[in-house]
């Protein structure tokens, strides 16, 4: 475990207010989802999950075909597809276009993909103002923080934090009523919307047979971002494709319910190209940036390819006992929770944070609530194996391997196991549980000390199971 990961985890655990905030927010989201997917509310929920998985599997397995079909349809509607391999190419494209069109102000709607490539920072570095407009994202931009959660980005902040932040950064009175804070943000951002030259959105889905970008949201900021400025740029990972507009009947029923328990979010925008002849408003130019940024690496691994099915609903975060303790900022990259634990090592390499695939109890809650049925625990196990192989290549972990070899050997030889157990039982006191911890020689070995800091062996029973079995 890296020192940074360790420190963030411990700081989060030690912060009682933060623990309460995470617990409350995730509990509420769990509850909302639960009511939205009951047999009464959505009788064919499980069928829809199976269907969503099948559609995603088919699309990802034929991704080249759907990417080309999508591009052809965007072009047919007067839009343009821009292919980018990495963050630099996206920033170069946006900066180049802004320069050509003399654009000075960009409004942005929430997008994890643009967080992934630090787009705002890259644009600001070139003196191009790029303003987040989702309330939570706007707060985080002012606070210079990254999202704490995929769908509830500012869940770790209280209204008092927001009041202080607005007073400090916007020069307004310190308001602690959430309604008033929302109004402050509304009026500041309304000016930005009306003055902006470019709107940048993400995409929840890219629809191949329509050349369309689909966006779901509750605030209306994504609609404004894609309707008010004269240029709309959607930035999306190549895995966001689905084949047909009709497939949305499956995905839209799952996404809102899994994320926030809503049958549909307040706004669902299906956008295909710039304003057409006769249409009164809407952007004059429409671009879709198709971003790789490591996704093709995941695609090449057929065992873990399903990581790309994710529709970013955040349900796995809410239901994860580890996320609910260590929070979003402990994770080493923008994607947190179980989905972050499986995609971060695949995007950035297992060396980036080798402890990540191990930061799970493998309880399986994530897989159970995943609307597209990604087998997250299985992928975590695969990644653990990769971490260990990586250690082996580097000549590390010899002692661990030796211990496990010895353990395996003992487990394969019942007589020896029994003898070892008898010896251990002879040494162990019958009363006190915390007995290994009292052995100073053991506590001198760092890994053993770390292990024993949280747990110990229970006291030995008077008779072993084997003895009882023989005398039954």
């Amino acid at each position: 475990m890296s020192a940074a990961f360790d420190e963030k985890v411990h700081n989060t655990l030690a912060d009682a207010n933060l623990q309460l905030a995470i617990y409350r927010a995730t509990a509420r989201l769990i509850d909302h989802r639960k009511h939205a997917v009951t047999a009464d509310a959505l009788p064919d929920y499980q069928e829809l999950r199976t269907e969503a998985n099948a559609i995603k599997r088919h699309t990802i397995d034929h991704l080249d075909h759907y990417l080309e079909q999508f591009e052809a349809n965007v072009t047919a509607h007067g839009g343009k597809v821009v292919w980018c391999q990495d963050a630099t190419e996206v920033a170069d494209f946006v900066l180049g276009l802004a320069k050509e069109r003399h654009a000075r102000l960009i409004v942005k709607s929430k997008s994890m993909t643009t967080e992934e490539i630090d787009l705002n920072e890259r644009l600001e570095h070139h003196h191009l103002e790029s303003v987040e407009t989702d309330l939570g994202e706007y707060i985080l931009q002012l606070a210079h923080q990254r999202p704490y959660h995929i769908v509830a980005p500012a869940l770790h902040l209280t209204r008092y934090d927001v009041g202080d932040l607005f007073a400090r950064t916007l020069g307004v009175a310190n308001e602690t009523a959430v309604e008033k804070q929302t109004l402050i943000a509304r009026s500041v951002l309304r000016e930005k919307f009306l003055a902006a030259d470019i709107g940048i959105s993400g995409a929840n889905f890219l629809v191949a047979d329509s050349g369309a970008v689909l966006l779901v949201e509750n605030e209306g900021n994504a609609r404004l971002t894609t309707s008010a400025p004269r240029i709309h740029i959607a930035v999306a990972g190549i895995e966001k494709l689905i084949p047909r507009a009709q497939d949305l009947a499956v995905f839209l029923k799952l996404l809102g319910r899994s994320a926030t328990g809503q049958a549909l979010t307040v706004y669902t925008s299906f956008l295909s190209g710039p304003r057409r002849t006769g249409e009164i408003d809407g952007p004059e130019e429409f671009y879709v940036v198709l971003l790789d940024n490591g996704r093709t690496k995941l695609l090449a691994d057929s065992a873990k390819r399903e990581s790309l099915y994710c529709i970013r609903c955040g349900a796995c975060l809410n239901h994860c006992p580890v996320y609910r303790k260590i929070g979003g900022h402990s994770f080493p990259w923008v994607y947190s929770g179980p989905i972050g634990a499986i995609i971060t090592p695949q995007f950035l390499g297992v060396k980036h944070e080798p402890a990540l695939p191990f930061a799970s109890s493998l309880c399986g809650a994530c897989a159970e609530v995943c609307p597209v049925k990604i087998d997250i625990p299985k992928i975590l196990l695969d990644l653990r194996a990769e971490v260990k192989q990586d250690e082996r290549r580097d000549g590390r972990g010899r002692m661990e391997r030796l211990v496990f070899k010895l353990w395996a050997w003992v487990m394969c030889h019942p007589r020896i196991y029994e003898m070892a157990a008898m010896v251990a039982a002879g040494v162990a006191p019958a009363e006190n549980g915390a007995w290994l911890r009292k052995a100073p020689a053991l506590m001198d070995v760092a890994p053993v000390r770390a292990w024993l800091s949280q747990r110990d062996l229970p006291p030995a029973p008077p008779k072993s199971f084997r003895e009882l079995w023989r005398k039954r």
């Binding site: 559609i55 309330l135 049958a263």
Partner: protein, 211 residues
């Protein structure tokens, strides 16, 4: 070039060659329940109410006009160019401006008036959703910039739900550059999960079902 590079990498990863045929995608899954008109209307109205929207069932165009007049209460409004609004006599209500075809002019007005009045191409009964297709009759910003949105929908336009919408409109992009589904007033819960309505879009929504 990035396009060729990405496509090549994708194909290599999948073991596919350029232009190779694809397997059949899973069949489209659309289920159409039998729901009679009255049940659709009832469901639509109750779903909108559950989302804190206001509703009215108008028997006639005149009834609809009277209700909208009460909602406006003399406040300024922009109405879309939908023929249905003219049929309902909305355009002649005091304070209502309409007939805009210039984007800049419309936008400036939408940013200052109190109420935006539109029709809706369809509505979805099971979720209380308005379906709006951008066209010469319906601009995007009328249902978005003013703090209040009033929508008049003919009862016959209420569909059972998403599955019926995508059965009727298998290719929305063939008709419009923008199809928006509106389900209740604009809302946020980004601060301490406390629900606040009207953050960027309208905080109040009125759905008038006519007929």
């Amino acid at each position: 070039m990035s396009r060729e590079h990405i496509l090549h990498t994708v194909r290599t990863a999948l073991g596919r060659s350029a232009g190779q045929a694809i397997a059949q995608p899973p069949p489209v899954r659309l289920r159409l329940p039998e729901v009679d008109l009255e049940s659709r209307v009832t469901s639509m109205l109750s779903r909108v109410e559950a989302l804190a929207g206001k509703t009215h069932r108008a028997a006639t165009a005149e009834d609809a006009r009277g209700y909208v007049s009460t909602v406006l209460a003399g406040r300024s409004a922009v109405a879309s160019n939908a023929p249905f609004l003219r049929e309902c006599g909305i355009l002649s209500l005091p304070g209502v401006q309409s007939g805009f075809t210039d984007a800049a002019e419309l936008r400036a007005l939408c940013a200052t008036v109190h109420v935006g009045i539109t029709s809706a191409d369809y509505a979805l009964a099971d979720t209380g959703t308005l379906v709006m297709l951008a066209s010469p009759a319906e601009a995007r910003l009328i249902s978005l910039l003013p703090p209040v949105h009033v929508a008049l929908v003919p009862a016959g336009r209420i569909l059972s739900g998403l599955d019926e919408l995508f059965t009727i409109l298998p290719h929305p992009a063939a008709q419009t550059s923008s199809m928006v589904l509106i389900t209740g007033p604009s809302r946020t819960a980004d601060i301490e999960q406390i629900l606040v309505r009207g953050v960027h879009g309208p905080g109040e929504i009125y759905v008038v079902v006519v007929g």
